[in-house]
């Protein structure tokens, strides 16, 4: 039943008839339903009811005004002469409705049908009145969707406006940021511009030159073997000497640390021996960092180059004068606790050139600058002696 009601409405909406045409179609809808109900009661077969439904659809689909007027005229004569038959039709409607809702219990339906004739009549009137409100409601519903369709558009537009407003706000903020940055830059430039160098001199030019010269002389005196006396050479020698000093300090620190660890190790050994435990010796071992150092020395007649890697020392000795330097060097090596491993060299013209490979004896803590300094001293002493002789 409800589906039948919905179908024509959809057609009406799609066809977009005039209000008068719509009213006529509504009347047509009422008539075919009544006809179908009467036929259903007479035949009591579902197939025939379906056929009638299709017939009703065909009527609703019709577009001729004459066809529309026809059903109205038919409705009026049926209602006027057969008032009793109308009431019977209404009762049949109720019975059909109840039947559709409670098909498994027909006896109960009959019982319900019997005590309701009088209120049934009232209900039929109410139902007949209710049909029109449904139609009106349908019309209102049909109109309301259009309003609803319009309403959603309005919020969208409203949403657009806030977006626009927000965009405007962003623009304003950007403009503000630009202004702030620009002003900050201006402030920075101004601050920079305000800076002025103030120079105050209390000494004369001559005094300044004298001071600078005395400082250069002091620097020259500190360097052990100056090569030349001009300022560029003095600064160059100072640079080399500073680097040498840094290397020497690093080497000495390493040696001191190693000696301290060795001392602790010896103390541990003594404790172990006294206590009589021999298992602690192994854990007492420690790892050492590999030692590496080098130094060069030059004097008028002697040039020494000392390189130390771990406990091996390589000494290169070049002397301008022709004297027997092997004796002096071997003596010095014994003094310094250096174990001789390899010697190569000899006299080349007026020069003596030798290369020594030695090992540092265990327990000794000689360092590169000490070896170089002592070698230079010994060579210079022997040269002086030779020159005297």
């Amino acid at each position: 039943m409800s589906s039948v009601w919905c179908g024509p409405k959809m057609y009406e909406e799609s066809s977009c008839y005039d209000p008068d045409a719509m009213m006529a179609e509504g009347a047509e809808d009422c008539f075919p339903q009544m006809v179908s109900e009467s036929e259903a009661v007479m035949s009591a077969t579902p197939t025939q009811t379906h056929t009638h439904n299709t017939f009703a659809y065909s009527y609703s689909c019709g577009e001729d005004a004459a066809n529309a007027n026809g059903p109205i005229a038919m409705e009026h004569p049926q209602q006027n002469p057969y008032n009793y038959s109308n009431t019977q039709f209404v009762e049949e409607l109720y019975s059909n409705q109840q039947f559709t809702y409670h098909t498994p219990t027909p006896d109960l339906l009959d019982l319900l049908h019997l005590p309701n004739p009088i209120p049934g009549d009232n209900r039929t009137n109410v139902s007949s009145v209710s049909y029109d409100p449904y139609l009106h409601l349908n019309l209102q519903q049909q109109q309301q969707p259009t309003l609803r369709e319009l309403l959603p558009h309005m919020p969208a537009l409203r949403n657009d406006f806030p977006f626009g407003g927000a965009a405007g706000g962003d623009d304003i903020q950007d403009f503000g940021n630009g202004l702030v940055d620009f002003t900050q830059q201006e402030v920075g430039k101004r601050r920079g511009g305000k800076r002025t160098k103030q120079f105050t001199s209390t000494t004369t030019e001559r005094q300044r030159r004298v001071d600078l010269s005395s400082k250069f002389d002091a620097l020259k005196e500190l360097i052990p073997n100056p090569s030349k006396s001009d300022r560029a050479s003095v600064v160059g020698d100072a640079i080399n000497y500073i680097r040498e000093l840094k290397r020497t300090v690093e080497e000495l620190k390493l040696l001191v640390e190693k000696k301290r660890l060795e001392k602790q190790r010896v103390m541990m050994r003594h404790k172990v021996e006294t206590e009589g435990e021999s298992s602690n010796l192994d854990p007492a071992e420690y790892s050492e960092s590999l030692r590496s150092s080098w130094i060069q020395r030059k004097t008028k007649d002697t040039e020494v180059d000392v390189r130390i890697v771990d406990n091996e020392v390589t000494i290169k000795l070049v002397q301008r004068k022709k004297i027997d330097c092997l004796v002096h060097v071997s003596h010095l090596l014994d003094q310094l606790n250096l174990d001789l491993q390899h010697v190569a060299g000899g006299h080349i013209g007026d020069f003596c050139s030798y290369l020594f490979n030695t090992k540092i004896c265990e327990g000794s803590s000689i360092y590169a600058s000490a070896i170089a300094n002592k070698l230079i001293q010994v060579m210079d002493t022997s040269l002086a002696a030779a020159s005297l002789a």
Binding site: K197, Q198, F199, E205, R208, R209, D211, L212, K215, F216, A218, L219, L222, R231, A232, V235, G236, A238, I239, Y241, I242, R243, L245, K246, T248, V249, L252, K253, L255, V256, K259, R260, E262, K263, V266, D324, L326, V327, S330, H331, L333, D334, D339, L340, Q341, H342, V343, A344, G345, G346, H347, G363, S364, S365, Y367, S369, A370
Partner: protein
């Protein structure tokens, strides 16, 4: 500052030259450019080294205004002097500490050295001598490796008056291989050398 003044004087000199010799522009230009280039190179050399010195020395004596004294030559040299003296003091103190620790360790570990002259003479190895020229000798010796042995050999050679022209010493396990090209000034070369070596 003095260098700048010197360059200023040089420019004045070049201007005077230009005033005097109007007819010799080419010569004047050559002279000017040569002198200027030399001076410029000299100043650049000194400036570069001053910068390097400043980078090496961690001490920076700051006075107001900052940008003026940071690159002042006098301040840079003074800081370098201070730093060198500081480093020298550190080296001395560390050396002293090392020597003290070494003395202590020597007391803990006394090393015993026993020398037996007879055993040493017996252990002395092969000595070969080949006469090459009038008074020149090529000698090959194999000596037991022991502390002080090489020193004694050298001292003996020096005492005799032998001049070692070319020497090569190699260590093999516990032996010295000494090959020497020497010049002798006395007679009976071979026997004399052998006696001296054995006697040592």
């Amino acid at each position: 500052m003095s260098l700048d003044e010197f360059s200023f004087n040089a420019e004045n000199g070049s201007n005077r030259e230009r005033m005097r010799r109007k007819n010799y522009d080419y010569d004047t230009q050559v002279f000017k450019s040569k002198n200027l280039e030399v001076e410029r190179r000299r100043r650049e050399k000194l400036s570069t080294r001053i910068l390097l010195l400043r980078s090496l020395v961690p001490i920076i004596t700051m006075q107001q205004p900052l940008e003026l004294h940071l690159m002042n030559k006098a301040t840079i040299v003074e800081d370098a002097i201070t730093y060198i003296e500081t480093q020298q003091n550190i080296v001395q103190s560390l050396s002293y500490e090392l020597h003290e620790m070494e003395a202590t360790s020597e007391e803990i570990k006394p090393k015993k050295e026993e020398i037996d002259a007879a055993e040493e003479m017996n252990k002395l190895g092969i000595v070969q001598a080949t006469k090459i020229d009038g008074n020149k000798l090529w000698v090959k010796m194999i000596i037991e490796k022991k502390r002080g042995r090489f020193k004694k050999l050298m001292e003996a050679m020096d005492n005799i008056g032998i001049e070692l022209i070319d020497t090569n010493v190699t260590t093999l396990k516990k032996a010295y291989l000494v090959t020497t090209f020497m010049q002798v000034t006395l007679g009976k070369i071979g026997i004399f050398v052998m006696d001296i070596v054995w006697g040592n």
